[in-house]
Amino acid sequence: MNNAKMWLVVKPTVGIPMFLTAVAIGSFAVHVAVLTNTSWVSDFLQGKPLGSGDGAVTSMLSDEVPSLPLYAPGDAGTA
């Protein structure tokens, strides 16, 4: 109860809404950061099953990738 003395100089009608607003803004910002820095939430909201992105990444990292052509030959010169 050491910090209780703050209410002797800060009106609770001002300090408590400020505290709750700070908590709300802080937690909202963290959740927005998670949403914007990951893809699985938007994938899930698009109807893709959770974890399906793991398979896509694994297939990209598998041994089959080096066998793919490094470039797609165009049809320049044939026309």
Partner: protein, 51 residues
């Protein structure tokens, strides 16, 4: 800062009243924190969050 329990401060509160306000705030923070911990455990178990 005076510790006179009957002194009325700028905010109109006495030390005892300030401690009562603070106790409710602490209780609310604890309940919020427990619910948040539970919610985060559920999300960590059921989604790819945290890998």
């Amino acid at each position: 800062m005076s510790n006179d329990p009957d002194k009325v401060w700028l905010t109109g509160l006495t030390l005892k009243e300030a401690e009562e306000v603070h106790s409710y705030l602490i209780d609310g923070t604890r309940v919020f924190g427990l619910i948040a911990i539970l919610a985060h455990i559920l999300v960590a178990v059921s989604t790819p969050w945290l890998g």
